[in-house]
Amino acid sequence: MSNDSRPKTFLIVLIPLLSLIGCGDGGERTFAALPAFCQEVMRDMDRFLGSFEDPADGRYGGTAVVGGIGEIPGGMNSLVSADHGAAQHQIFVNQMTLIRFDEAYDPEPYLARAWDVNEEETEVTFHLRDDVFWHDGHKTTAYDVEFTYRRATDPETGFPNAAFWAHYVPGPDGIEVVDSFTVKLEMRPHAEALDPWRALAIMPRHLLEDVPPGELRQHPFGERCSVGNGPFRFVEHRSDESWAFERNPAFPEELGGPPFLGRYVYRVVPEPSTLLTDLLTESVDLYLQPTADQFPRIEDAEHLRLLTFPFRDYVFAAWNSRRRQLEDPRVRRAIAHGVNRAQIVEAILGGSGSVANTGVPPFHWAYDEEAVDALPYDPERARELLEEAGWVDRDGDGIREDADGVRMELSVRYNTGNQERQEIAEIMQSQLRRVGIEVRPRAMEWATLVSEITDAERRDFDGFILAWVTEFKVDDTDLFHSSNSSAPYGWAGLEDEEVDRLLEQLQVTVDREDALPLWEAYQQRILELQPFTYIYFRERGAGLNERLRDVHMDARGEWVTISQWWIPEEERTGRPLVARSP
């Protein structure tokens, strides 16, 4: 053979093979690839946590792998992340909140061992635990709470849940550090005054104090080297691939002590079919939010269990009442009567969900049982309402017109690629046709859709289908208060005095007993006005490998009990995993 061809061809084949070896991780954990800030804090964490005795017997040990289709955007930085999965990692896994919810969704102590509210409900004082350490060895103190609060209320930070602070006094005046473990905040009386302190993870002042608020979003802390104080310490984040956490051996005994799992890994697997395969082949122990059509596959597999639990996200169709066709509440009610939502729950969710009538979730204390049957599927009623409102089919084409000949034609948008919303739009199209409303489903790319519907000046849409995750503190002020009609989320353009009054009263009514009638009135009013057609509250699902024990999920989130998850020793796979990676 030719004397010069072989070596070269050989090389071409060899290059990828070599890189296979080249990429192999060395045994040593090196932080060389990390920014300087991270190299230091990672070493500090290793040093501090390495000095603790790590429980390694019985339930302690093993790795649990959780698979989800998305990254954790914003990572462990609670000041800038707007994502729900990210928030859960912050509050349940890596960091701590002042208070947390128990199983009945009532507040219980967490980082704050106690709190008191003054008589006028204008001041709350939190008494913090004094035995909680940041993973790098610093104590968690009231100054951290103060720092977190100040950053979160500073517009420069761009804190995504500014509504949290609607009833607090922003800025330096609103908060006072009484001593290292006591902090006092000023507020206005409110039913859910403490809710932000359940949702917002406290951030370490000693590491982030010098970072200008506007640069927090770009700081490596959240993505590359989070230092928390929760049950799991951060180990590693590989972009678009995985997050690894390990047991925090210094977690206070009184709060349950160190978690059982030695290591917890979150893996990003964007394609649901692949993720299902990973669950079936035991590459992941937990598959979060499988699609409804995958439920049977999970239920049928011997070693798997399907968990379902009610959740706070609902799907709705928002209607632009500035439009001629939609200005009359009777028309919007007719839409609700004309769409068989119970059937949609069956068809799309396979029954794992419930019809929604307002934004108050079924497990919420203010949920109005009577609202459930308020707007049943009733095409006849829908036709009556449309006729009353002056919409009659005048040209015999099956679609109604008003006296001026405006056709009852609605373009309904949804984001491209969202199967669920597309199906809803199509069902609405076929069912509403029967009552004389023409719906034209229209797919749009997500970013385009968002910018179009939030552009308060144009509001160039009839309706769109979207999903929304509410907090436990339900507050529709953003959506329905007339003062927000031309703010980004005033989609419906609702201007109703009663709604305004109720929303305002609800904000300041502290006592649940007093608030309940207001909530009922509010829900009734929304049912009447129908700014949205609420479609359903989805139950969330999770596919679980039964080797992972004591996994409980509810509306608080998927990770709420992660400290109690454990794997029997004989069912741990792979190498005997110690708590700390080599």
């Binding site: 061809s5 930085n77 082949t281």
Partner: protein
């Protein structure tokens, strides 16, 4: 040779800049504003404005373009809007993965494609030829996404859970969870096992085309006079094919190498998604959806550079296989 390479790289600079400029304006003129995507539902209008300022979105497009070009010239790709991290870091994380995947796929595709093409040409017009042609066409025409899912179904799920094969492949990811605890040799094996399915599904699509090119080119070469000369020397047939016909037949196939690179990179988008392979393809597609301008721009640049480099490699390979070019 080095001078030539430098000249080629220099010539590619305007091209790459052109690509970057076009992508910049297309991205910035598309509807959708990243600030509202990242800020979340509860953000106050005031805070939103701050976010826009932090992201540098408050300036008019041409100002942003000049700023961006200026930063680029200093090697500063900026920060990802969605991830907050420096784009450089994100790309440093993901680019090697994509290179590993596409490099392996390319090598596999060319090895398999050339082997099949040669076999077809040698067994020209027999059942071997026609069945391989059929197979090539099949892999060329079925949707890549479906093919990838089938591979997972067969070689991950069924191989393990149903048939209990001793060897089955991981369906996703680049390494096992306990990778860090493995011996170096096990680590290499672990990586290779994870590479098999994604690389194969990417390679199969390309291999069909390469096989067809090779077959055609080989059939032409086999009838050349110098092949007759080689036979007249008394060489065994396989040496005639491997030593004389193949390298000549590869000359047009090398051109395909350059042509296939963009195809390869677009293929990585779905392969990375299906096999959860953290890489550039998915990064850029996600970034487009998120209006993460800095990442899209940097990604476009990286791909443009990769295509240019790929063509450069094709040219170099060209002169390796064809001495007439080397001395011409």
């Amino acid at each position: 040779m080095i001078g030539y390479v430098l000249r080629r790289v220099g010539g590619a600079v305007p091209l790459v800049l052109g690509v970057a400029t076009i992508v910049f304006f297309v991205m910035n003129l598309a509807p959708g504003d990243p600030s509202s995507l990242y800020a979340g539902p509860g953000v106050s209008p005031q805070a939103l404005e701050e976010v826009r300022q932090n992201m540098g979105l408050d300036a008019p497009v041409h100002v942003r373009y000049i700023r961006w070009m200026g930063a680029m010239a200093q090697g500063d790709f900026g920060h990802s809007l969605a991830r907050g991290q420096p784009v450089r870091d994100v790309i440093r994380d993901l680019l090697p993965n994509t290179l590993l995947l596409s490099g392996t796929a390319l090598a596999l595709a060319f090895l398999a494609g050339i082997l099949i093409g040669v076999l077809q040409a040698v067994r020209h017009n027999t059942w071997i030829d026609s069945s391989l042609s059929g197979a090539s066409l099949f892999f060329y025409s079925i949707p890549s996404f479906w093919l990838a899912l089938m591979l997972i179904l067969v070689f991950s799920l069924y191989a393990r859970n149903v048939w209990g094969w001793p060897v089955h492949f991981p369906a996703s990811g680049m390494t096992s969870v306990d990778h860090a605890w493995m011996t170096p040799w096990e680590q290499v094996k672990d990586r290779a096992m994870h590479l098999v399915l994604p690389a194969t599904s990417l390679a199969l699509v390309l291999a069909g085309g390469i096989a067809r090119y090779t077959r055609t080119s080989m059939l032409e070469v086999i009838h050349q006079d110098y092949i007759r000369t080689a036979r007249a020397k008394g060489l065994p047939e396989w040496r005639v094919i491997a030593g004389h016909a193949l390298r000549n037949a590869l000359i047009p196939v090398v051109t395909v190498f350059g042509l296939y690179l963009p195809l390869l990179f677009s293929g990585t988008v779905f392969v990375e998604t299906v096999f959860a392979w953290p890489g550039m393809g998915k990064l850029v597609v996600d970034a487009i959806g998120q209006r993460d301008y800095p990442v899209v721009m940097a990604g476009a640049l990286v791909f443009a550079v990769m295509v240019v480099v790929g063509n450069l490699i094709a040219d170099v390979l060209y002169s390796v296989v064809d001495p007439r070019i080397r001395h011409g």
